[in-house]
């Protein structure tokens, strides 16, 4: 089918993208392809970032602080009104799973690219979602729907420690605590509730039996207004740090055809039970031959490209078609295998501590079956204000091993200077025996890559490079040296280290 806003039940004209970074850029591209004008919103610190330049219009909505910009529903609705946008795409994170945002858009007569508000509300509440899943006959993890201390203790004794304390409004591992023994229980409940309240303005928590060594496998679904529902295969997302995915792939290695069918059927019946529309993801925990409903992400996922690569489909265009009243595609045949690595501004040598800075040098892999979704470019700033995801590297292959080797090579071609990042860490993960042999569980990182450090050979190469750099082989960071414009002269302590003449080939 031709991607186009033409000949749709509702012909959209202008889309406001209520997000930033790589996903805003990626949505703008597909919206343009779909024939829509695009409106970017941005905070003061993002004025010069890529999504602002990419859109047809851009509106400043506030200061860096998310609460007063990207999380401010009224400002975003106002921006949509001001620009005459007839649709809003929330991306992921920020307001993407806030039912009240979808509701506010609807009240303003603006199409929200996502499920209906009431569906978002129901699925966004993990406790309610558990109920819907159970009623739809989807297996759920044993647990109780309260964080009340005595009930929690009673459940924990019965189900046996460790147990998992989760925020009803949670997401991204926030407000989540594993409790190994009763001594920790009360403080864990308190801490989780506190973090949940701070993060989501909703301190409700609930409790589930903690699965020892599960895999995280999710199913991509699409639903349309006329009840059409389709599943686009699964994604394996077991490799996580701090409860956040860093490597995802499709298909899930070694998943039996029967398991896959069962999980896809479960996802579809859940989608039907919830009257789900637009794109969503049903997440499961898998242990042995059992799978349990984890949650529904009622939005586009960060890792959606691994599905796009296998199915040859543009999920954002599908979202826009559905939002225009169009139908889900007839179920498509996937092909090959794909893997995504999330390049984060963080320090893998120090518990993935967030990093910031401005990009001084960037080398991006390319070529056949390699895709890099990013808003980065030399000169771009990574600020402390927002999520540390700065790029997604996706590789396709005829099979998993081909995709894996392509990813190793692609990461070897990647270089980013100025912002500490996890590229070398991801490279070692994907190149490892354990990943090659798909020894996958949500504990993969702790089991195999705890205390990771770069190889000594790499450090030696870096030291030689450092000596050459000190000697002026590659020039100064003019900004850092305090020379905003070309033409200024630097003073540098390194000059004093030079022990011989400049050489010609130096640039």
């Amino acid at each position: 089918m031709v991607v186009s806003s033409q000949s749709m039940k509702r012909q959209l004209k202008k889309l406001l993208v209520a997000n930033r970074g790589e996903i805003a850029l990626r949505i703008i591209r597909s919206a343009r392809l779909f024939g829509l004008r695009t409106v970017a919103v941005f905070s003061e610190v993002d004025a010069m970032s890529a999504h602002v330049a990419a859109a047809d219009e851009a509106i400043l909505i506030g200061p860096a602080e998310p609460a007063n910009s990207y999380l401010d529903i009224s400002k975003i609705i106002a921006a949509a009104r001001q620009s005459g946008a007839d649709a809003i795409h929330p991306g992921y994170g920020f307001l993407s799973e806030r039912a009240e945002f979808a509701r506010a858009a609807a009240e303003a007569g603006i199409v929200f690219v996502g499920p209906r508000p009431e569906v978002m509300a129901a699925l966004g509440d993990k406790v309610a979602a558990r109920r819907i899943a159970a009623e739809a006959g989807v297996p759920v993890v044993p647990g109780i729907e309260t964080g009340e201390v005595s009930a929690a203790r009673e459940f924990a004794e019965r189900a046996d420690y460790p147990i998992l304390v989760k925020a009803a409004a949670g997401g991204g591992g926030r407000g989540m605590r594993v409790v190994g023994e009763s001594a920790q229980l009360e403080s864990a409940l308190e801490a989780a509730s506190h973090e949940a309240a701070a993060a989501f303005g909703d301190g409700r928590i609930f409790i589930e039996k903690y699965l020892a060594r599960p895999r995280h496998i999710e199913v991509q679904i699409l639903g349309d207004e006329d009840g059409g529902v389709v599943a686009l295969g699964e994604r394996e997302c077991s490799i996580q740090r701090r409860h956040q995915k860093i490597v995802e792939e499709s298909p899930a290695p070694g998943l039996s055809a029967s398991m896959r069918t069962k999980m896809i059927d479960a996802a579809l019946s859940l989608a039907r039970a919830a009257n789900y529309t637009n794109a969503g993801t049903v997440e499961f925990l898998v242990e042995g031959d059992n799978f349990y409903f984890l949650e529904v992400n009622a939005r586009l996922q960060v890792e959606h490209p691994v599905t796009e690569m296998r199915f040859g489909i543009d999920l954002v265009c599908e979202q826009l078609r559905i939002a225009s009243g169009g139908h889900v595609p007839k179920s498509l045949a996937p092909r090959g295998a794909s893997i995504e690595c999330r390049i984060n501004a963080e320090d893998p040598e120090h518990d993935f501590r967030p990093a910031t800075g401005s990009v001084l040098h960037l080398s991006v892999p390319s070529g056949p079956c390699v895709r890099f979704d990013s808003h980065l470019a030399v000169g771009a700033e990574v600020t402390p204000w927002y999520d540390g995801l700065i790029g997604k590297l996706i590789c396709f292959g005829a099979d998993r091993e081909e995709a894996r080797r392509r990813m190793v090579n692609a990461l070897d071609e990647f270089a980013l200077l100025g912002v500490t990042n996890n590229a070398a860490y991801l490279r070692d993960v994907v190149a490892s025996e354990q990943f090659r042999d798909a020894k996958l569980s949500t504990h993969f990182v702790e089991e195999f890559f705890a205390g990771w450090h770069p190889a000594d050979a790499d450090i030696t190469a870096a030291l030689i490079a450092a000596a050459m750099t000190a000697d002026g082989a590659f020039g100064e960071d003019r900004q850092a040296a305090g020379a905003p414009r070309p033409g200024a002269v630097n003073r540098s302590p390194w000059e004093s280290l030079k022990n011989f003449e400049l050489w010609g080939s130096r640039r």
Binding site: L417, I464, M468, G472, P493, F500
Partner: protein, 176 residues
């Protein structure tokens, strides 16, 4: 020159001995290494060390050097500068913000005696809470920040002085 990298106890002693055309002779610690360097049009180049090639790029800053060797990137500081803070037997008598962010909670006050591993301050950046704790016993000399305040990378959050009968090192350490 002597270089340090954050969180790596080692101090690296490296000296550029000579560069003759493509051949770069460098001393790393006691070892002398001959590498080949081929500059690339993009400003960096390829470093070949016994048969293995590394795409490298480097940037000089006032008091640090940033280098990339393939996907691995490093920030080296002159050991001297990292020693500046040495004072009264403490390696780091200050709790430093490891990243720009917002102070969520301050867990101690001036004069408190803190033990090893005791959380001192919690800061938030990029949606994540990071707790900074004492690595060993010390006395809180001065709390320099309060909850809600934005702090920049490297900002001094808390000053510490040696605990009575203790000159153990104190430094920022993340506990989850």
């Amino acid at each position: 020159m002597k270089l340090k990298r954050a969180g790596d106890p080692r101090e690296f002693d490296v000296e550029l001995i000579s560069r003759d055309g493509a051949v770069v002779r460098v001393r790393v610690g006691r070892e002398e290494i001959a590498a080949e360097f081929a500059p690339s049009a993009t400003g960096g180049g390829t470093l070949t060390i016994n048969g293995r090639r590394y795409p490298i790029f480097g940037v000089r800053r006032k008091d640090s050097i940033l280098v990339a060797a393939g996907p691995a990137s490093f920030e080296f500081k002159l050991a001297e500068t990292s020693l500046r803070r040495r004072a009264r037997g403490l390696v780091a008598p200050e709790i430093i913000a490891p990243m720009p962010g917002k102070v969520l909670r301050v867990l101690v006050k001036d004069g408190d005696l803190v033990e090893s591993g005791q959380p001192l301050v919690v800061i938030e950046a990029m949606k994540m809470e990071t707790t900074l704790a004492a690595e060993s016993a010390a006395v809180v000399k001065r709390v320099r920040v309060e909850a809600g305040q934005m702090v920049d990378h490297g900002a001094v959050l808390i000053e510490l002085s040696p605990a009575p009968a203790s000159s153990a090192a104190v430094s920022a350490l993340r506990v989850s």
